[in-house]
């Protein structure tokens, strides 16, 4: 599929947020359908573009078919990035999200992303077979979600959770 067009304008994410996202984190996404029912999915990789104006999230489209359909329909997307060892978390939201088949370059992200995630989680007591069991995804089922970040929130557990983060 061609480079997705038609992404709505958003503020993007700043350099500090980009640096945080530029590693293997726990990534989970939410959307909502037309009747405002929430949908949730675990992603297997994510990447912010170098300028921070675009966020790409990869997930198992077969296991999360309902969410993918909702994103395609409503364009609503929220993504939470969390570092398991520190619980530091950020949530990125945007409208006008698009669903696309991943490019070869995007699909290639999943391997290194999983390796980094394994390094992070084995450091806090999880085993590699367990992490692979959770993150395992057939490459043929990969789907890419693209969004222009409109707002970023601090989601680290604590009293500041939910506060907007300046881009």
């Amino acid at each position: 599929m061609a480079e997705p067009d038609g992404l709505q304008l958003g503020a993007g994410v700043g350099a500090a947020v980009s640096r945080f996202l530029d590693r293997s984190l726990s990534v989970n996404v939410a959307s909502s359908d037309r009747s405002n029912r929430p949908l949730v999915a675990r992603a297997v990789a994510a990447q912010a573009s170098s300028g921070g104006e675009r966020l790409t999230v990869l997930l198992d489209g077969r296991a999360n078919a309902e969410l993918v359909a909702a994103v395609a329909d409503t364009g609503r997307l929220a993504v939470v990035f969390s570092e398991p060892s520190t619980h530091r978390s950020l949530q990125v939201k945007g409208d006008g999200a698009l669903v696309a088949a991943p490019t070869a370059e995007e699909a290639a992200l999943t391997g290194p992303y999983l390796d980094g995630f394994i390094a992070e989680l084995t450091g806090i007591g999880f085993t590699e077979p367990f992490i692979r069991a959770v993150m395992s995804c057939d490459p043929a089922d990969l789907v890419a979600l693209h969004v222009r970040p409109a707002t970023v929130f601090d989601q680290t557990p604590g009293p500041k959770a939910g506060e907007p983060v300046q881009a």
């Binding site: 726990s26 989970n28 996404v29 939410a30 959307s31 909502s32 405002n36 029912r37 929430p38 949908l39 949730v40 999915a41 675990r42 198992d60 077969r62 296991a63 999360n64 409503t74 609503r76 997307l77 929220a78 993504v79 939470v80 969390s82 398991p84 619980h87 978390s89 949530q91 939201k93 077979p129 367990f130 992490i131 692979r132 069991a133 959770v134 993150m135 395992s136 995804c137 089922d141 929130f153 989601q155 557990p157 604590g158 009293p159 959770a161 939910g162």
Partner: protein, 472 residues
């Protein structure tokens, strides 16, 4: 349709309860009235019953605002042993700010908060209760085979209950319960505590696995076996379990947890003669289950005691362990109520054989000083604190009658009627005090012992001369 159902039985909350142990954060999606989704990770999803879960409300955040506005939420959880993932659709019902559910979650949250180094930050404001309307297995991932469990808890409960049948008395019942915990549940550290009706404090009358847990042998002997350790009501997992009459379980715990600290510090500022509660030095899992005794028609029940287990291992006690020990505690409560000593009319065997010789002359050796403080009935043996309160008053009466009248054989009944023993009221369990006294003396391995000689009868064994000192 029916064929399909045979192969895919409907998923229940009970079937995936292990996902709610808090090992892996859950993810929750909610939606604002304008349709904007929100996604967040949660440290605690609390199993309430087969149809309900509760989430901790600590801060007013977007998730909470959305739930209050729209009620609808979707939760994703992971089985910590297989990696299998599930989605639970939730319908918000209400928020509870006190009571058993709230206290149980508060205790657990404290453990989690300490685990992630945020004990100061996390404070439970409420327990948000949800109905689980739908559970879906996420088809992705490649789950591992389920972990093999070392024991069947249902079988352990059954055998433990069978083993309690026909107990002779409270002491026998407590011992059998402790043995069941060790042999059938694989528990390494356990206590059974009984309440003092007057002070509300709980004191330990049966213990397992604390003798050798000190760092050095000298330290271990100072700590004692656990018999006599006290907990104030509301203090730590034991005190909260007693106050709220609900099991309190902590699966991740470090030494700086507020709960364990409260438990250990509570004694420092308290009255003079209490035996502190050292417990394990580094507990990572704790579970306290109230033992309730129900009169006919009384649904709430009276507090008969607390069953407490702990472990140096994280996640040692699961929801299933909690259910199993709660069932064992229910059996203990029923049996405690039915024991003869709990009745107001006391059963007493006729005096069987008399003591070999009335007041056998103490076998030489240096005399031991028994000092009694009237203010709190505390008793010291050669300057070492032994016991206080009702049990202290009992011991003081026994040693006086032994020294002055040469008596060795006594009955529970005479103690109950004695004006110098301050039993608060008829419901006060005299036998529990005698068990405490007997076991404290056994712990001391000194020249004073108490031996049961029949129902409602016992004997004071004295090996050295006694020197009595009464302090005002």
């Amino acid at each position: 349709m029916s064929d399909r159902q045979d192969h895919h039985p409907v998923l229940t909350l009970d079937a995936i309860r292990t996902c709610l142990e808090g090992v892996i954060p859950a993810t929750i999606a909610t939606v604002a009235p304008d349709g904007t989704p929100n996604v967040s990770q949660l440290s605690q999803v609390h199993y309430v019953d087969p149809g309900h879960i509760a989430l901790s409300y600590q801060f007013f955040n977007k998730t909470r605002a959305n739930i209050l506005d729209c009620r609808d939420a979707l939760l994703e959880v992971i089985d910590p042993s297989t990696g299998a993932q599930y989605r639970l659709r939730l319908d918000y019902l209400r928020t509870e700010t006190d009571g058993p559910l709230f206290e149980s979650m508060k205790a657990k949250l404290s453990g989690i908060a300490s685990h992630v180094g945020m004990a100061e930050v996390f404070r439970l404001r409420g327990a948000d209760l949800f109905r689980v309307t739908e559970i879906e297995a996420v088809p992705g991932g490649r789950p591992l085979p389920a972990r093999i469990r070392p024991r069947s808890l249902l079988s352990a409960v059954r055998r433990a209950c069978e083993g309690l049948r026909g107990c002779a008395d409270l002491s026998d019942l407590l011992d059998r319960a402790i043995m069941a915990l060790r042999d059938l549940f694989g528990v390494e550290h356990a206590l059974i505590l009984l309440p003092d009706a007057a002070s509300g404090r709980l004191f330990t009358v049966a213990a397992l696995g604390y003798e050798a847990s000190g760092e050095a042998a000298g330290e271990a002997s100072k700590r004692g076996s656990g018999i006599g350790w006290e907990v104030a009501p509301g203090d730590g997992v034991i005190g909260v379990a007693a106050r709220e009459r609900v099991p309190i379980r902590i699966t991740h715990m470090t030494t700086d947890v507020a709960y364990s600290m409260a438990m250990r510090q509570g004694t420092a500022a308290g009255p003079l003669h209490e035996i502190p509660f050292p417990g394990l030095e580094r507990p990572h899992s704790q579970l306290a289950v109230p033992i309730l005794t129900h009169e006919a028609g009384d649904g709430r029940g009276g507090l008969g005691g607390v069953l407490f287990v702990e472990s140096a291992q994280e996640m040692r006690f699961t929801y299933d362990d909690e259910d199993a020990l709660a069932t064992l505690a229910a059996q203990l409560g029923a049996l405690m109520r039915s024991l003869p000593a709990a009745q107001t009319t006391e059963v007493e065997d006729p005096p069987a054989e008399p003591a070999p010789a009335p007041a056998p002359a103490p076998a030489g050796g240096p005399p031991i000083t028994v000092r009694h403080y009237t203010t709190d009935d505390s008793v010291f043996l050669d300057h070492d604190y032994l016991i206080k309160g009702v049990a202290g008053a009992i011991l003081w009466k026994l040693v006086r009658e032994h020294t002055i009248l040469g008596r060795t054989d006594f009955t529970n009944r005479e103690l109950r009627l004695a004006p110098d023993i301050p039993l608060p009221d008829f419901a006060e369990n005299l036998e529990a005090r005698l068990i405490l006294l007997q076991r404290r003396l056994d712990d001391r391995r000194g020249p004073l012992r108490i031996e049961k000689t029949g129902r409602g009868r016992f004997r004071l064994l004295v090996e050295t001369p006694l020197r009595l000192e009464e302090m005002q």
